[in-house]
Point group: C2
Chain length 253, copies 2
DNA sequence: GACAAGATGTGCGATTATCGCACAATATCC
DNA sequence: GGATATTGTGCGATAATCGCACATCTTGTC
C-alpha cells in the first residue's frame, strides 16, 4: 500500500482485530496467523500491540478481547443516540409485542443489529446482541433491508450461488428470492417463517436511516405466535407504530 | 517502538479509532490530529485506512463510525455468551425490578457496562448502553467494582485529587470514599443517592467475573423509588437473586 | 518418560512503509 | 471577498516493519 493511500500496517492490524469478531472464546497467535495469512512474526507483533493498547488480554497462550472494544462501539451508539432515544422506544414496543424487537442496517452481506430489546417472555434465540450479523436472504429483517437496497446490491447477492440453506425450508432460488424482496418492497413489510431458525418466524418493516444506511425494524417469535394471520397483523401494526415513533426522532429521519 | 514490542503504526491507528469512542456525531481529520497529537498527514493516512476497511465513512469533511465496529464488539459479547445467557436473565430481573439493570466490569478508571436491560417504565437517563463508561466514585456500581479491586487500585484512584464532582452532593473526599468502599465490601452491596445524576439513586451487588475482570450488577432508579428503606431492601433482594442466577452460569463463574 | 508436533520468542539484515514538512487547493465562516 | 480552517499531495529521509531462521517452550500422544 502506497503511503498516500493509508497505512498498511494499520490495515493488517484491523484484520487481526476482526478475527475476534467471530466470537470464539479465545484465539492463539498461531490461529491468527492462519486466519489472516500473515507471517507469524507479523501476527505476533500486531497482537502484542492490541495487548499493549488494552484491547486483548493473554490467558496462557490464548488471547481474548477485553471489554475495551465495547467502548469504541459505544461511541457509535452514542453518536446515533441509540441509548437515549432508540432503546427506550424499543423497550416500549418490545413490551407491546410481549417479545423481541430489533433495529438493523445492512452491512456488506449481512443484517447488522444496531439495537434490540426483549421482554423476559421472549423466545431465546442463539443470542443476538447489538453487532450481531444475520444473513439477508432467510430473515425478514434481511429481506426488508434488501428491499431498501439498490437493485445492483440485490443482484450481486443473488449471484452468489448457491446461497446457504439454514433449514430445510430456506428459500435459495434467486428468482423466488427476488420475488420475495419485491413483495416486501411493495407491501412495506416482510414476513419469513422457519427459513433461518427452525420454529422461528420474523416480521420486519422499514424505518428511516442511521448514518448513511437505511434501517429496518423487526421482530422474531416462535412460528406458533406469528403464524395466525390475526396475530401477525397485530404484530405488524405494533411494528409500524414503533417505526413511526422511531421515525420522528432526528437521528433516524 | 522497537519492532519486537509491537507495531507503532497500528498503535497510532488504534488511538485514532478510540477518538470516536467519545460519541461525538462526527470528527474531522483536523479534530483527530488535534486530539491525538499526530502530524496531520499521519492522521489522514490512518483515517483513510479506517475508511478503506469500512470502520469509518466520510460525509463531506466529517468522519463518522460505521456500524462495523459493533461487529467486533459482538465478538466479545458472543465469547462471553452475553446475548444467549446473560441478556435473558437481565431482561427477567429488569421486569422484577420494573426498571433498569446493568452488568459492568472495571476498566481503567471506569465502570464499563457490558450488558443492560430496562423496562419501558424505567427512568431514562443519558442513555447508557453496552460499552458506556461511568465514573467509579459517584456510582453504586462503580463503588462495588472498587470494593472488588485490589487496595492499590483504590489508592491510586483516590490519589487523583481532586475527583470530579457531578452533583452538589458528590462525595470526593478520599477518606469518605475509602470508607464507603469499605462499607460496600463489608455489606456486600453499595447504595448511592444523587451523587452522579441529580434525582437518581443506584444500588449494586457483586457478581462473578467476566474474562479476567470482576463484575458488578446494579440498578438505577429515581431517588423517590429507592429512598424508602423497604423499597430499597426489595430491590436489593431482587439484585441478589439476579446475581445468583448469573453466578450459576459458567461464563460468570 | 520420550518423542513429535505445535506454539512462541528472538535476532537481524533488507526493504519498504511511514514520517513530517512544505506547498497548493478547497471549503467554510463572517 | 477576505480570512481562516481543512484537506490534498509530493517527496526525501528515516525508522518501522518485514520475513526468515533458529531456539525454546508447551502440549499431546504413545
Amino acid at each position: 500500500m502506497a503511503s498516500a493511500d493509508g497505512a498498511s500496517t494499520f490495515a493488517k492490524g484491523l484484520r487481526v482485530l476482526a478475527c475476534f469478531g467471530a466470537g470464539s472464546r479465545g484465539l492463539t497467535m498461531a490461529d491468527i496467523a492462519r486466519q489472516t495469512g500473515f507471517d507469524r512474526a507479523s501476527a505476533r507483533r500486531l497482537c502484542l500491540t492490541l495487548i499493549e493498547e488494552g484491547y486483548l488480554r493473554k490467558d496462557g497462550r490464548v488471547l481474548e478481547l477485553t471489554p475495551k472494544i465495547l467502548s469504541v462501539s459505544a461511541g457509535y451508539l452514542m453518536a446515533h443516540e441509540i441509548g437515549r432515544v432508540v432503546q427506550p422506544i424499543l423497550n416500549l414496543f418490545a413490551e407491546r409485542l410481549d417479545g423481541e424487537i430489533a433495529l438493523a442496517v445492512r452491512d456488506d452481506d449481512s443484517a447488522l443489529y444496531v439495537a434490540q430489546s426483549a421482554t423476559a417472555s421472549a423466545r431465546v434465540s442463539i443470542g443476538f446482541t447489538a453487532g450481531s450479523r444475520l444473513p439477508l436472504w432467510p430473515t425478514a429483517i434481511g429481506r426488508m433491508l434488501l428491499a431498501r437496497s439498490p437493485d445492483d446490491i440485490v443482484a450481486k447477492l443473488l449471484e452468489q450461488a448457491p446461497l446457504r440453506r439454514f433449514t430445510e425450508t430456506t428459500e435459495t432460488a434467486p428468482g423466488a428470492l427476488r420475488q420475495a424482496i419485491e413483495t416486501a418492497r411493495r407491501d412495506g413489510h416482510a414476513f419469513v417463517s422457519g427459513e433461518f431458525e427452525r420454529g422461528a418466524a420474523g416480521l420486519a418493516v422499514p424505518v428511516g436511516r442511521i448514518g448513511g444506511a437505511s434501517a429496518a425494524l423487526g421482530t422474531t417469535a416462535s412460528v406458533n405466535r406469528l403464524a395466525p394471520r390475526e396475530a401477525r397483523d397485530r404484530a405488524l401494526d405494533i411494528l409500524r407504530q414503533a417505526a413511526i415513533a422511531l421515525g420522528r426522532e432526528p437521528g433516524l429521519g
